[in-house]
Every structure is written in C-alpha cells, then in structure tokens.
Symmetry: C2
C-alpha cells in the first residue's frame, strides 16, 4: 500500500468519502499528467483564482510567473494558497438527470509557497517546469540566461496537505430507473494534440522533433 498523507481539517473530504484519497503516489501521478493548475489565494477581502503552469519536483510543487505580476508578488509574500489540478476523464450519462456526473481525477494542495532565489536551484526549477510541459525541450532550446532567470519568480510549495478526489466507471442509477429506455454510459474525454503548426518565421527544412510529433501526456495516446 502506498504512503498515505496526513489529513487536516481543511483537506478532509466530507462528501462521498469513497471518492476521496490521500495517497501520495496517486497525487503525484495526477500532478504529472496535468498541464496547468488553478491557484487560489486571498488578498484582504478578495479571492483570486488564476491558471498557472506548474511542475512537480519530488515532494514539492513548482509554480512560476513574471517577477512583475501581482500574483507572483502575493504568492512569494507567503500568502496562503490552494492549488488544484483537475483531469477530466469523461461525461457520465445516467438514466436520470440527477445521477449524471463526470469522471475525473483532481488534486487540491493547501499551504503556502516560498520563492526559490538560489540561481542554481532556480535554473533546475525552470528546467523541471519546461520538461513537465514538453519533455525533451530543455536540451533542445536556448536555455535561460542570468537576466531571464532573474526576471522569473519561481515558487515552491510542499505537497503535504492534499486532497484527492476521483470518479471512474459507469453511471450509478437508482434501481427503479434501470428499466428506463434512455442510453446510459460514459463519453470519454481526453486532451489531445493536433498536428504541430510551425512558426511562419521558421527556417525551411527545420525538422520537427520527435518529442513534438509523438507528444503525449503520461499514460495517454499521443495523437488526435
């Protein structure tokens, strides 16, 4: 059995406990498939939710943004935040509207983020952020110089206080509805790539790298 993370007041899922988990390996697997996260944080009386790029680096989540952004400033200031990664796996069509659902895997992480300031660690974090989105790209692009590294805020957040929620499988109708004539089942959803579009300014005959032509998230098929 995989390691279970401790459950806190705010990370405890109360609705439909059968869909809840606090398993470290499952959380990591979901985070490794997702492309973007949604970061929530409060400033005074306002709350913000913003989409951001992220990566997992061991037991911490990396986030990054421009040094100039309000978001990066607020987060680096140690504000409490909540980060959610959601994978949509399918639409669940039950015979009754009430039992309609979605198949999904989501992770919510609670805590606060601290800025990575050491240039070596920062460069390693930028490599991991790049490789999370496009494995193989870091070694096949111009890597950031000192000025670019300075212009980027990289934040790290421990993956310690986590809730996982998942649903999978067919619809669950009431017994009395099972004889109704409506179609029931799951319509699977996947985020997929289409054919790559070269930059109009790209030099003719520049080969398309295999990490682009064969791009796939972990555990998924590669192409449309």
């Amino acid at each position: 059995m995989s390691e279970q993370l401790p459950v806190s007041e705010r990370s405890q899922l109360r609705r439909i406990p059968s869909r809840a988990s606090y398993d470290r390996a499952l959380a990591h697997a979901i985070l490794d498939v997702g492309l973007i996260c949604h970061v929530g944080f409060a400033t005074g009386t306002d709350v913000f939710v913003i989409p951001m790029a992220y990566a997992r680096q061991g037991d911490q989540l990396l986030l990054h943004g421009s040094v100039a952004s309000r978001l990066a400033k607020s987060l680096a200031g140690g504000v409490r935040l909540s980060v959610c990664v959601t994978l949509m796996d399918g639409l669940v069509l039950a015979r009754s509207v009430f039992e309609h659902s979605m198949n999904y895997r989501s992770v919510v992480c609670f805590g606060h983020a601290t800025a990575i300031t050491d240039p070596t660690f920062k460069a390693a974090a930028l490599r991991d952020l790049t490789e999370h989105l496009i494995p193989g790209r870091w070694e096949d692009a111009r890597q950031p110089n000192t000025r670019e590294i300075q212009a980027t805020t990289v934040l790290a957040m421990p993956l310690q206080e986590i809730s996982i929620k998942t649903r999978a499988g067919p619809p669950e109708d009431l017994q009395k509805d099972m004889e109704l004539p409506y179609w029931a089942g799951v319509l699977p959803l996947q985020l997929r790539t289409a054919a790559a579009i070269p930059d109009p300014a790209l030099a003719a005959h520049t080969p398309l790298p295999s990490y682009v032509s064969d791009y796939a998230r972990p555990g998924q098929r590669s192409r449309l």
Copy 2:
C-alpha cells in the same frame, strides 16, 4: 464593437495588457465552450479551489452541488468567490525557453453567489446545467423530481466583474534568437471525445443518441 464590461480594481489585468479583454461577448463564448470551472473561496484563514460543473444562463453563471456539501453551504452563504474557466489551446514552443508559453482563453469572474430556491427557476437551472455539458440530454433522460430538486443547491452569480485573458498565435522570440536552429511553433491542444462506453447494465440494442456520437463543444470538431 461588442459591449465592454466595467473594469474594477480586482478585475484589472496588469501584466501584458495586450492579452487582456473585458468584452462581454468574448467572455460568454469562452464560458460556453468550457466544461468545468474552478471556484475559489475563502473561509476564515483558509482558501479553497474546487472544480465544479457550471453553465451560463444569460448574464449569470450557474453552479451546482449537493445541499450537504461544505462548498455549497459556504457559497450559498454569500461568501466572496472567484470562478475561473480556462481553455487550453496549445503549447507554444519558442527558440528560447524563456519565451515558451501557452495558447489559452481564460475568464475569471468575481463576485458572490446566491442560491436559487424557487422550484421552477431551479428546474430551469438544472436543465441549463445539463444542456451545457450534454446538449440534447435533458429531454432524453428522466428529469429530476421534487425530492431531487430539493437535494441540489443551485447557485447563481452575476457575470458582471470579469477579466478575460487570451493568447493565440506563434511564439515571439527575441530577434537575436531567430537564427537559432531549434524548431519553433505551436502544438495545438483540444479536449476531445473517444468512443462512448455503454453502461454494462444497458439493455441490448439501446441506440446511441446522435448527441453522444456527434458530441462536440461549440466551434470544435466532434471526434478523436
């Protein structure tokens, strides 16, 4: 020119204003394509971000959850919230790591939600929530009865305080990097459906409805 929504202190986007918009029609178009939103709200010192189903009903956003959920209780209590819908359109590969980006369309809506309690409005909202995810399904399933309507919290939030952020098109490298030998361009992303999976308990010969076999989000192709 389409109607522009008023800009508030919290909805004003400061980073890269060329990617910002407050256009009502554009916000509605993005919301109509998305499947789920991420809802952020604060309770005391904690902030939560949760994935939820939603629908647009005219100039308001509908959210729904179980009456029993902590989330629905908090939101119906009038807590301030922020709702974000993000469409991922592509990975943008520049010649330099620093200029890598994503093509996306996102809407963030600020405000607070109120519970819809009138049974007729509530049923209409449940219809819109169902039709948002699966157009055609409401009339082809058992519609909710009084008990089921009572067991669901439906929230409405005005679409008045909104930020839109979008990026589209090719990478934007520095002039000095244009001659580097790396491939550059966009790898398009789309959320697509795969072949529907019938419920194992489905009666043989139940036809697959065309709204499932031809499922597509507005403006997108239908199948993998």
